[in-house]
Symmetry: none
Subunit: 304 residues, 2 copies
Amino acid sequence: MAKSPKISASHEPGGLIVHISGLLPSLSPAEQRVARLVVADPADAARRTITDLATAAETSEATVIRFCRSVGMDGYPQLRIRLAAEAARRVEPPDARVVGGDIPPGADLAQIIATIAFNDARAVEETAEQLDPAVCEQVVEAIGGAGRIDVYGAGASGFVASDFQQKLHRIGRTAFYFPDVHTALTSAALLGRGDVAVGISHTGTTSDVIEVLEQARSRGATTVALTNFPRSPITEVADFVLTTAARETTYRSGAMASRLAQLTVVDCLFVGVAARSRAKARKALEATAAAVQSHRVGSGRRRA
Amino acid sequence: MAKSPKISASHEPGGLIVHISGLLPSLSPAEQRVARLVVADPADAARRTITDLATAAETSEATVIRFCRSVGMDGYPQLRIRLAAEAARRVEPPDARVVGGDIPPGADLAQIIATIAFNDARAVEETAEQLDPAVCEQVVEAIGGAGRIDVYGAGASGFVASDFQQKLHRIGRTAFYFPDVHTALTSAALLGRGDVAVGISHTGTTSDVIEVLEQARSRGATTVALTNFPRSPITEVADFVLTTAARETTYRSGAMASRLAQLTVVDCLFVGVAARSRAKARKALEATAAAVQSHRVGSGRRRA
DNA sequence: CCACGGATGAAACTTACTTTCATGAGGCGT
DNA sequence: ACGCCTCATGAAAGTAAGTTTCATCCGTGG
């Protein structure tokens, strides 16, 4: 089992559960059964013996051990302890909010709002917790010193890509976003050493984005991937991998929470880059803010 | 030496560590050595194997087991797990998050990440709390029954508008977004009774958006405003006002947190509308998901 | 069709945990 | 002082848990 580029295997400070759910799709079916049990109720899993857990997951002990290794643990006892710690730290969700789940059919709007907000907020928090500052730092460095930055993304991730592009542009970095694959490929072909290409894909399997990132990399550009799944194909064409931690399973809630998580990461990178050259960034920001000032009307509250 | 054989096993309020140190004097010398190690560093003890701990306490495994029983545990594994949980709970993050504030100049990336995530998550939560389900309900009704929906927004709010448009479109609602004011005005002029216009503006002062919303209203469309400021100009041209709760002060964090808050509201409306006609929405979603399927790589699981 | 590689569980194996038991050190009554 | 009882203690036996190995099976691509 070869290891991908820069996946910080040992780094999952934000929480084991989050880490595991990110890895979930990269696990074998039998291991996935184990993973689901663990994620569903970490405290309970910590109480079980390996044989017990194996039985519950309808598999063998061997598979449970494999699962432990897959998620970066030494063995079952270590997993158990980590799970116990994790479960203890976690604040139990107050009510019957469907954690990472679907909205129940008969739900009224107040319930819907509570569920969405809860999941959204958690995705943001957990994403921040598991973000590796060291990798971020390197990405910030690369972007801050880049000659040109291309941001790629399709569908929902396209909005995020576009947002990132606009943000970078506002602080005076030369950044591009292309809604069209062909244009993006063309642009990627023109990148070179010292340039940066950022590919955003929740699933990490969007072929368009992967392709473009690959192209960029082959031209010598530094490539960065932003995905929810640390072992997805996109990570293979990235020099740096940043992950979100939206742990929803259904495509529906998925697209929602993951988008916020992605934006949070974008925000962090943005502020990081801005902080790197504070004076210049501030000046650029003020200039752009002034530019739209004439499109604002008075009488309302406004920012200073 | 009234060492009672049966110490209240079930209930040890205030934490296991406290409990252990409480009955430390009642333990035998060898057990006390074990207890002291455990109390001194629970997390470390949880990591050790029973033999290891016994050696460290200069005693035998048997004594460690006796100690476990003395403090009310079933056996060593249970103690281990409880200790891990305990240790996790007591080590509270030494939070240096700048609440609602700006990022300090000298901040390192880890700090930046924590601050952003905190503010982002709080904006989401607080927005949800103050959202009026009744108003949402009416908006959902209007959108769900609308002939056509126009979503307006400029700058950062433009992304949100665009996102909303795309979401509505995915569940089969006829929705439009226009990056260009003139086109938007044209479209607004074509709206009529039964149509819905949604204007998104963080400050509520974006004249372009207000203007377009006003136009839409004058044509008889139902108008909805999404803003952070309930008394801003945009609310004057809106039939329904939904507010976000990003309480940032600076332009920098402002644009970031407010965007997430807006998206959360969009999510709520979206799910509300989708839930309204569940079957139809689901079908539409599945169709759109299938449509992009061929653009994904790695059919099942990723990267073995 | 076969070769190959990965996934999987049965079983062998190792390590960790638990119990049993013999020893010996105090305490205490005679 | 002596014997006897009690209890702490660790050695060793015993049991259960965790880990490794390996043969089998299944799908994939030549």
